[in-house]
């Protein structure tokens, strides 16, 4: 494994350096049918789950086959995507905002061979490599975060919870039987890199224990002021601590009851780890959306305060998700998003029909906006 240099000289980092060139120009990456019809599309239609046609004013058509994919993806898998795109799509492919892969062809006769090719490919373990679906009034791919694959503050795994959930919801990925689209999102701690706060159903990793303090090492490996200022609730203060051997060291103290378990201190200071087998688990939220369609965009609400991490398939979590999806599928009107349905029937009914327990943790007590969520009316259902 000899080191091979590109020509970069660490002694002279500015020599021949190129910076600030930005991304590649998207125009280089458009398939011809896209380039020719950009800004001049007439309409589109979902022909079947996962298959769309867009028709240009010119009469040109582009057929898109949408496939699910794990966003944690190897170069081997990307090369396989390229192989298929080279064979069927003249060397073009795109990804969606929700980690789907889209293969496009410019005529209908190219569609069946492409679909067959995609549907035929499976991993050795038996799962589909390129399941077709994710369109219309169904479930599409889950946007998510890194989890135990790569992050230092997750309270659960991301790829695993997503795999377990999508296996459960797979038939709805390949169907369009729901009242409207159902967007599931996953973020592995409350910092929400995945911004799950406006999803029909959100899976959120959550810690429940404040950080541990490694006093002996803390001042040696951390800048104490940075750890103090990292805390969003000002729960951390500098403090002298006495070790078991009687040595007095500079360290910090944490006001545990103010901690919201975000792990921002751990980001700044590795001597403040907070991960915990029993403390960590899953919060489920529901009823958010980002579209302005019919009703305003809305935030997701917490509907399950905590479920333990049940590796490797989180059955309590997928069970609760399934209940919500089924209750929504049978109860909502056509075009009604999950949150609009819950608002219409009332959240008291939501818990009843979804067979979820309502607990004191679900009543907001965080700062002033909590009041807005309490009921200021005599109108409610028994």
């Amino acid at each position: 494994m000899a080191f091979i240099s590109t020509g970069y000289n660490p002694e002279k980092p500015m020599e021949n350096r190129i910076t600030d060139i930005g991304p590649r120009d998207h125009n280089e990456f458009y398939p011809p049918v896209i380039k020719n019809n950009k800004g001049k599309w007439s309409h589109h239609e979902i022909l079947e789950p996962g298959v769309l046609v867009h028709v240009g004013e010119s009469g040109d058509e582009v057929y898109t086959v949408r496939c699910g994919g794990a966003r944690l993806m190897s170069t081997t898998h990307i090369n396989e995507i390229c192989e298929i795109a080279d064979k069927h799509c003249d060397g073009y492919v795109r990804f969606t905002t929700r980690n789907n892969i889209e293969f496009m062809v410019d005529s209908k006769d190219k569609l069946e061979p492409l679909k067959n090719e995609l549907a035929s490919r499976k991993f050795d373990g038996g799962s589909y490599k390129f399941p077709i679906g994710g369109t219309g009034a169904g479930v599409t791919n889950i946007v998510h975060t890194q989890g135990w694959a790569h992050c230092h503050t997750p309270a659960t795994d991301a790829s695993g919870t997503v795999k377990a959930t999508m296996d459960e919801l797979f038939s709805d990925f390949q169907d369009m039987r729901l009242p409207a689209q159902l967007r599931v999102s996953m973020a592995c701690c409350l910092n929400m890199c995945g911004a799950v706060h406006c999803s029909d159903i959100a899976i959120l990793g959550y810690h429940r224990k404040p950080p541990m303090l490694d006093h002996e090492y803390l001042d040696k490996v951390c800048e104490i002021p940075l750890a103090v200022s990292a805390c969003p609730t000002a729960a951390i203060k500098p403090a002298k601590q006495t070790l078991a051997n009687g040595t007095e060291v500079k360290s910090v103290a944490v006001k545990n009851e103010r901690c919201m378990y975000c792990g921002n201190c751990y980001t700044m200071c590795p001597s403040m780890p907070l991960a915990d087998t029993e403390g960590d688990g899953i919060v489920l939220m529901a009823g958010g959306k980002v579209s302005n369609r019919i009703s305003d965009p809305k935030f997701s609400k917490v509907v399950v305060a905590f479920l333990p991490n049940e590796m490797p398939r989180w059955p309590s979590m997928t069970d609760a998700i399934n209940k919500m999806v089924e209750a929504y599928a049978s109860g909502a009107n056509k075009y009604e998003r999950l949150g609009d349905w819950a608002d219409r029937i009332g959240w008291e009914k939501f818990f009843e029909v979804c067979e979820l327990d309502f607990t004191h943790h679900l009543i907001d007590d965080f700062r002033q906006q909590a009041y807005m969520s309490w009921r200021q009316s005599t109108q409610f259902k028994f």
């Binding site: 590109t6 600030d20 930005g22 794990a70 081997t76 369109t135 219309g136 790569h150 990925f173």
Partner: protein, 442 residues
């Protein structure tokens, strides 16, 4: 033979959804065999060790990664996330396993030539593991050593004409929906604006000078497929000012349930039978402003009372088209919950033209006014939305020079505690108490 036993992860190989475990395993095998003769610059068995460390997390219910401190490429303050394993003796292949964020192309279209060059580089100098794509939009290259960072950056910039994305307290990599490239709803060219602003603000993207992160997202229409209204400090959402265009013949086709005109562009062609399409119930009845009428086989829209929610257009895309006087709305301050709770974007500019010919001057002016204020007044780690909450929406209007209008609020304030400025009150606040006492005894 796998390097580590992974009984828990193995259970995630079954089931229909693409298994990341199977993919990681195939990658580990490809590296071990190395049929292409790659001169791997980081440990050949790093993917085996990634599986091993994940299995350990599945056993413990805890992560085994540490945050990476300061690693990066010279002169940039973002684009690289340091990452170290907390069990380096057991998993030496991932002891150093840094992330590089690569600025994705607008719309996430690719040629396979480009992708293959990228995979070639990442097999050579990294783990061969990626995210396609990260939550903000970047291509994420997951796992390499410190010594490789400059080398990867060199190849990206010199040979691939490709730069890194953002991280830390700077402009994060802007992201867009696919816009007019393949969507008839798009009210502006999201890709062109995203690309222009990304290039215009390279300095802000690479060199942290902000109080905290700042995100741009570009949605072509109010359907908000890229979630800009929930996820970006500054959200650019396409809209129009004139009327929705109606094709009455096509409306008739929908009413007749012509199979070539399925409701919602075919979104309900699933296993559930919703019955025949009913224009009154499904379009007029669900219109939030009830601004539509269907009389004598003619659909009419009171456009002055339309709020452009997109529902009718989504339901009947062959009959109804977005208007021609197009532009975008700018909303500001959206963020995830940390700390004061989640915020949705608030409307700041109801309508602005999207004009590439003057380098989007009307848009960059708003951006720069907002940044000037936020950089001056924002506290460390204070998102724009939180500054607006702290100093007030009125202050935001003042610094951007935008006139207040009823569109800015869902409803006017419900308290009368108006803090008047002295110069807004006739005669000011300095008064002569002696003069007052001439008419009002003590």
């Amino acid at each position: 033979m796998a390097k580590h036993e992974t009984p828990l992860l193995d259970e995630l190989e079954s089931g229909p959804w693409p298994s990341f475990v199977s993919d990681l395993k195939q990658q580990a095998e490809v590296r071990a065999k190395n049929e292409k003769g790659v001169e791997f610059q980081i440990p050949v068995d790093c993917v085996d060790d990634l599986l091993g460390v994940m299995e350990l997390s599945y056993k413990h219910g805890r992560t085994h990664w540490k945050h990476g401190g300061i690693v990066g490429v010279f002169g940039y303050g973002g684009g690289v996330i340091g990452r170290y394993c907390d069990q380096p003796q057991a998993f030496p292949g991932v002891e150093h396993f840094h992330t590089m964020r690569v600025n994705q192309p607008a719309g996430k279209y690719y040629t396979t030539d480009y992708l293959k060059k990228l995979t070639e580089l990442w097999d050579f100098r990294g783990s061969g593991i990626t995210n396609m794509h990260g939550a903000t939009g970047d291509i994420i290259l997951l796992g390499t050593t410190t010594a490789q960072l400059e080398e990867v950056f060199w190849t990206l910039t010199h040979d691939y004409n490709q730069d890194l994305g953002g991280s830390g307290s700077n402009l994060r990599t802007p992201a867009d929906c696919l816009g007019s490239s393949r969507c008839e709803y798009s009210c502006y060219d999201t890709a062109a604006l995203c690309y222009f602003l990304t290039n215009e603000y390279q300095d802000e993207l690479h060199r942290p000078a902000f109080p905290y992160k700042f995100k741009f997202k570009f949605d072509g229409c109010p359907n908000c497929c890229v979630a800009s209204i929930a996820r970006s400090d500054m959200s650019f959402i396409g809209t129009w000012k004139d009327g929705i265009k109606i094709d009455q013949d096509a409306v008739a086709k929908y009413v007749e349930n012509d199979p070539a005109y399925p409701a919602n562009a075919g979104a309900f062609k699933g296993s559930k039978d919703w019955g025949p399409f009913d224009l009154e119930k499904e379009v007029l009845g669900l219109c939030p402003t009830k601004c539509m009428k269907y009389e004598n086989n003619k659909l009419s829209i009171d456009n002055a009372n339309c709020t452009r929610c997109m529902h009718c257009i989504n339901v009947m895309p062959r009959a109804l088209k977005i208007g021609d006087d197009r532009g975008l709305s700018i909303l500001v301050g959206a963020k995830a919950p940390i700390l004061d709770g989640a915020q949705m974007g608030s409307l700041l500019v109801p309508f602005v033209e999207v004009n590439p010919d003057n380098d989007y001057e009307e848009i960059t002016e708003v951006i720069e006014n907002v940044w000037d204020w936020w950089m001056e007044e924002g506290k460390n780690r204070e998102r724009l939305g939180e500054l607006i909450m702290r100093q007030g929406f009125q202050k935001l209007l003042e610094v951007t020079g935008i006139d207040p209008m009823p569109q800015h609020v869902a409803y006017p304030r419900t308290n009368p505690y108006i803090f008047w400025k002295e110069d807004e009150v006739e005669g000011g606040w300095e008064r002569d108490v002696e003069e007052y006492r001439k008419h009002h005894q003590r």
